[in-house]
Symmetry: C2
Subunit: 457 residues, 2 copies
């Protein structure tokens, strides 16, 4: 929510650029997760990245981009190319562009050797190149890898080199880079925009619905939309860089009222996180049964801290045998209606609630593009004439969801042709959104879990 | 593998640049998945993207980048900013930079209106802006969304605008953009490099092991490494742009021999895909039981087409109740050893194999940073004095894997402190790699499934 009453204004809009280096990014072998991570970390501190450039491992290409960014930006962040192998050239190229000397630091070499010793391995000679630093710069220790980061400042401008592996980069960025940027006065206290998430309305209808509200706020308002699979995010900011928080608060509250149940949350919480919070507040537990989505729904829910408090468990049941034997789906029901049916979804949901002793249960069954859900019997002979029609009735992309709640059980048909991974993700989001709406309507527990544990303590 | 004997040489190295547009990318709200997708699709056709630039939605910023890319590149691909809302400005900005007129196309408007009608919605007026095209360009229909793509050529240079949502962009790129690029002679027949995946050896040790082999091939060889969570990819290409396939074939075969079981596969297959192929070739089925990874392993396996052929099912069992009641883990075992133990992992794996009637089973149990795996009993009173010690013995990041095979069951302890998502992914990869090594040693079925179905046909 919008809570801070004012924003300390940092010096006039420092420009941040991110250079992500590596052939593997351009060849599509690795996703560029650094842009999302660093962009998010900076935006939460009042900075919007001006630009991200990705180029390969060739020294002349890297040099050209570093030169251009260092000339125009106040802060240049480089990722990748600091490792021990022959294609890691960032350190040397940047030193040349900055006109800085690289000097050997025995302390770095010692840390690398210790790390190898801890894992019971011998340090190979090519690791030694990671022990060089800028003569006038700082070393950023890397607790999760061999290559340290390097930090260089000049004229209140900063340049930082970070290793490519995300589990090394992330803690180094939050624990070492952000505090240094704050000390240089380059960060603000909060995000320069308000974001909220919605579900169930299309991007264009959505703007039409909210536009009359936005129009009242004139040109000073900067509106951004971002459509996901089954959700649309809305960002509201001020075009002139200064936020009038009182007006933004009134506006976002107006959006929330207008959207009703289609309003999911402020900020960046996932649908799974929103459902988890609602379940916890109601002291209820959820179970899942998945055929078409094969564990994706359970994985999304267990990603959340303390999932044991609201998640009872899940079954991944692609085969009819598993549906019958583990979840008690009647064999005759499968023969009559097929596995891709409302009837089967309902039986899966009630079965999951029962075996896990859960208050709520969600089931997903369906035919995705690749047909992972087996039709009944696997062969023409095994198929019941009545049930066998389901493949024709339910084209690829058709799925059935079921929701079991303390006061009833319902099913819903959804249809998302298109690529398999997207169809699976859409089904997971549709199931979570349905659960969210149901939970919003259910009253929160009179005695919240927090009060309960406080009483026990 | 390296099979094509020669590569039709496209005209001298056309330069491809990708401009990904959207504030949400720079704010870290959405991952830039277009770089990975388009980079991969192009690299499979002999083209390495020269550069990817991401900038926000401001018109002047977009114009500056388009102008720079169009001046230096042969092909410029732009994504995002084609939608119906007020922050979608790409179409107009690009037209201005190219000096092209935008003209209204009633056929596009008709297609958009039809799409709305199909979903039972009214077309809102702001959708009309999507019906404009370049006077001299082509329209690329969008079967999965409202905004069509636009294609423009001039002097054998091409510029293409594609909508941002991945499920809209992907089919448009492969079905409409790639054929047009091929017709312009801008694509080659195959990848300009050979890649293979390895597991179980670190990046630096790895280079030391293979370096003597690489040294024999001199400066013409371009070696790239990319470390993932538990795997290292190696790319071998020719620095001068021409591939001597015979030499590369000899070299990669040498790497495969030298690496033995640490060699996973040629190309880009996931560990799950490799395991799936091995299971299918052996006509065996796999079941999984997941506590710490909560469905991620099952989701990775069911992502593969026809998962029903090799995947029997899975249970996500975060609670002790689920472990006991669904998978038959003895209560006394949990009390004595705790849920995070080798004993529990073994019981989970054998339980999963039994209830799903599977030949192989993998179990993952452990304490991740956020502690989703509940300790025994949830309260001090419920905990057995002997079992209660497990939290001290097993610090955060410790997990136990178990592998059940037709001829035995084994457990393994792994330890990955660090952020929770990475720890979960590492555990999934470790489990799949273990299964892979076990399957490689098991003989393939005398009669492969393919032969079998051929006999039946």
């Amino acid at each position: 929510m919008v809570s801070s009453p004012d924003i300390p204004s940092p010096r006039a809009r420092p420009r941040f650029e991110l250079l992500t280096l590596g052939d593997e990014l351009l060849l599509g072998l690795t996703a560029n997760s650094h842009l999302a991570f660093i962009g998010r970390e900076l935006s939460r501190r009042g900075v919007e990245l001006a630009r991200n450039v990705t180029v390969g491992d060739a020294a002349d290409t890297i040099a050209a981009e570093v030169r251009a960014s260092w000339a125009s930006a106040d802060v240049v962040i480089l990722t990748g190319g600091l490792g021990p192998t022959c294609d890691d050239r960032t350190r040397e190229v940047v030193a040349a562009v900055l006109g800085e000397e690289l000097v050997f630091d025995p302390a770095i070499e010692h840390a690398i050797a210790e790390r190898f010793a801890r894992f019971g391995r011998a340090m190979t000679p090519n690791n030694r190149k990671q022990a060089f630093k800028f003569a006038r710069g700082e070393v950023l220790p890397n607790p999760n890898g061999t290559a340290p980061g390097l930090w260089f400042t000049s004229d209140r401008k900063a340049l930082v080199l970070l290793p490519g592996p995300p589990h090394e980069l992330h803690p180094m960025f939050t624990e070492q880079v952000l505090p240094r940027l704050a000390r240089l006065g380059l960060l603000a206290a909060r995000e320069p925009y308000v974001q909220f998430r919605t579900a169930g309305v299309g991007e264009s209808l959505f703007e039409t619905k909210l536009q009359p509200l936005f129009d009242r706020y004139g040109d000073g308002l900067n509106v951004g939309f971002c459509a996901h699979l089954g959700a649309v995010d809305v960002r509201l900011g001020a075009t002139d860089g200064r936020l009038d928080l009182e007006r933004l608060e009134r506006l976002t509250a107006g959006c929330e009222r207008l959207l009703g149940e289609d309003f999911v949350c402020y900020g960046h919480d996932s649908l799974a996180k929103v459902c988890a919070d609602l379940l916890r507040a109601r002291e209820k537990k959820l179970a899942v049964a998945e055929a078409a989505t094969g564990g994706m729904l359970a994985a999304a829910l267990t990603e959340i801290c303390g999932a044991g408090k609201f998640f009872a468990g899940g079954v991944v049941c692609c085969s009819n045998d598993a549906k019958i034997q583990l979840l008690g789906v009647p064999e005759c029901l499968l023969k009559q209606h097929g596995a891709v049916s409302a009837e089967c979804a309902v039986a899966l949901a009630t079965g999951a609630a029962e075996i896990f002793g859960a208050d709520y249960a969600v089931a997903i069954t369906g035919a995705t593009a690749a047909g992972s859900t087996a039709p009944w019997g696997h062969s023409p002979q095994g198929a019941d004439p009545a049930g066998n029609g389901s493949a024709q009735e339910n084209p690829v992309g058709t799925m059935f969801l079921a929701l079991h709640a303390p006061h009833g059980v319902w099913s819903k048909k959804i249809s998302h042709p298109g690529p398999r991974p997207a169809a699976r993700e859409r089904a997971v989001n549709a199931a979570l959104d349905w659960l969210r709406r149901e939970l919003v309507r259910a009253p929160a527990s009179a005695r919240s879990p927090r009060e309960d544990s406080a009483l026990r303590a």
